[in-house]
């Protein structure tokens, strides 16, 4: 079976790749394009470690076929920092909102999607929005505080 040619935009850059029909977007990002910031946790859509945006919509890259990315824009953790870290990344560091770090890219991508939709979410909103991102180290409180602090920072840059 010939591989499928896909033209897409990843983190603002046009990107072509070849993939198999049953290859997930997650596998394409990691194995074909070397974008290993997006993590594989469960590969069943339960843990959120592979969170990316496809056409600005937060999804699990493990539940998207690479072939479905044709003509779409994809944003991954690699596209989040500019010259400096994004406030979410900075606040995750300051609040020690990570230990092993496997879940962190997914949390940051998901939290950024929330703050773009709702710049001032309350704690309950943050917890529900991030319910699909699992962390087995931190107990979540530090993550929630980092997101709250990043929201403040984004609203009133220091």
């Amino acid at each position: 079976m010939p591989r499928i040619q896909v033209e897409t935009t990843i983190n603002g850059q046009s990107q072509e790749f070849l993939c198999d029909a049953n290859q997930s977007l997650l596998d394409v990002l990691r194995d074909e394009l070397g974008l290993t910031g997006t993590k594989e946790g469960c590969a069943t859509g339960d843990c959120g470690a592979c969170s990316v945006l496809v056409d600005d919509r937060l999804v699990c890259a493990c539940l998207v076929l690479g072939a479905e990315a044709q003509g779409k824009t994809v944003q991954t953790i690699e596209g989040i920092a500019g010259e400096e870290l994004h406030p979410l990344q900075q606040k995750f560091l300051e609040h020690a909102a990570l230990q092993c770090g496997i879940c962190t890219p997914g949390f940051i991508v998901a939290a950024k999607a929330l703050l773009e939709k709702n710049p001032d979410p309350d704690e309950t909103t943050i917890r529900y929005w991030l319910a699909g991102n699992l962390c087995r180290c931190t107990g979540y409180d530090k993550i929630i505080r980092a997101v709250q602090d990043a929201a403040k920072e984004l609203a009133h840059p220091a």
């Binding site: 079976m1 069943t44 959120g48 937060l58 999804v59 699990c60 998207v64 076929l65 479905e68 929005w129």
Partner: protein, 294 residues
């Protein structure tokens, strides 16, 4: 042993002919909408290579129409997109709260109501809610279009009524008039991200005196398929949804259920909980219906 292939046709006719040709050649083809069930199955329980037919490029499956008489929800629209539609949420709050309960934010970004229905899990949250609002499956296939009530569409665990070459274009739902509203409740042991132990969707119509003139009750996760419970509706119709009527409706749900015991709950527990959910959902639907009376 074939290989996987991926097709994303742009017309309904192409989808139907691809599906029909594969069936005629004895080759497997499977429709892809949100993929939140399909991609997981492809990696675990069901690895057989097949042709994946993506229906998200079709205009029809992406159509969301809120008409005076009916609402049409295309089978490729993700739950997150539906839930952001305030008009739809105010017209069919119960159906939308059911679809919003499915999975995480990430899953919501992909999962569709049509997919939830076709996947035919006994615990699919949106199915009892669809039954409550009398949703009709709009099916297309080689023999042309046909319609089927949701409660007849699911034929068993993971099984639906689609035949070779057919796929689900979307759902048509009679638009609730003034005095009619729906609600859906499910029980899970945690607050988010779990599979229903039991669920109940209820639609209630009230006249100007608050008398219940029509009702539909759908229950989920308590039988191999979600069920319409006419006896529960009958207990509500003609009442003011007083405690006796609600209790009788709940008992009718328990009587209709044939649950299994599993790690989420025992059969005995499910029989009790489904009655409670029916009562409470009916009370919420009543409140909503009375707020929409003319």
């Amino acid at each position: 042993m074939g290989a996987y292939a991926y097709l994303a046709p742009e017309t309904v006719d192409e989808v139907v002919s691809v599906l029909a040709e594969h069936a005629a050649d004895g080759q497997r083809a499977q429709v892809l909408a949100g993929g939140t069930d399909l991609l997981v199955q492809m990696r675990s329980a069901d690895k057989t290579p097949r042709t994946i037919v993506d229906i998200k490029k079709l205009e029809e499956t992406n159509r969301l129409e809120i008409g005076d008489e009916q609402v049409f929800i295309g089978s490729a629209i993700p739950s997150a997109v539906l839930y952001e539609n305030e008009a739809l949420k105010s017209i069919l709050p119960g159906l939308l709260e059911a679809s919003d309960l499915i999975g995480s934010t990430q899953v919501q970004g992909r999962a569709t109501m049509g997919g939830n229905l076709c996947n035919a899990s006994p615990a699919g949250d949106s199915i009892p809610a669809m039954i409550a609002v009398a949703a009709v499956c709009e099916i297309v296939g080689p023999a042309g279009p046909r319609q089927m009530q949701v409660e007849e569409f699911v034929t068993g665990v993971g099984k639906n009524a689609l035949v070779d070459g057919e796929f689900l274009l979307g759902l048509s739902i009679p638009r609730p008039g003034p005095g009619t509203a729906d609600a859906y409740l499910r029980f899970i042991p945690r607050t988010e991200m779990d599979i229903a132990v039991a669920g109940a969707g209820v639609s209630i119509s009230l006249d100007s005196d608050g008398l219940c003139t029509a009702a539909r009750v759908g229950i989920g996760a308590v039988a191999p398929t979600a069920l319409l419970v006419p006896d529960a509706a009958a207990a509500l119709i003609g009442s003011h949804l007083d405690d006796d009527a609600l209790r009788a409706a709940g008992e009718a749900c328990s009587a209709a259920a044939s649950p299994i015991s599993d790690k989420r709950g025992t059969a005995e527990y499910r029989l009790k909980v489904v009655a409670v959910l029916c009562r409470r959902a009916a009370a919420i639907a009543q409140q909503r219906a009375s707020a929409t009376k003319e």
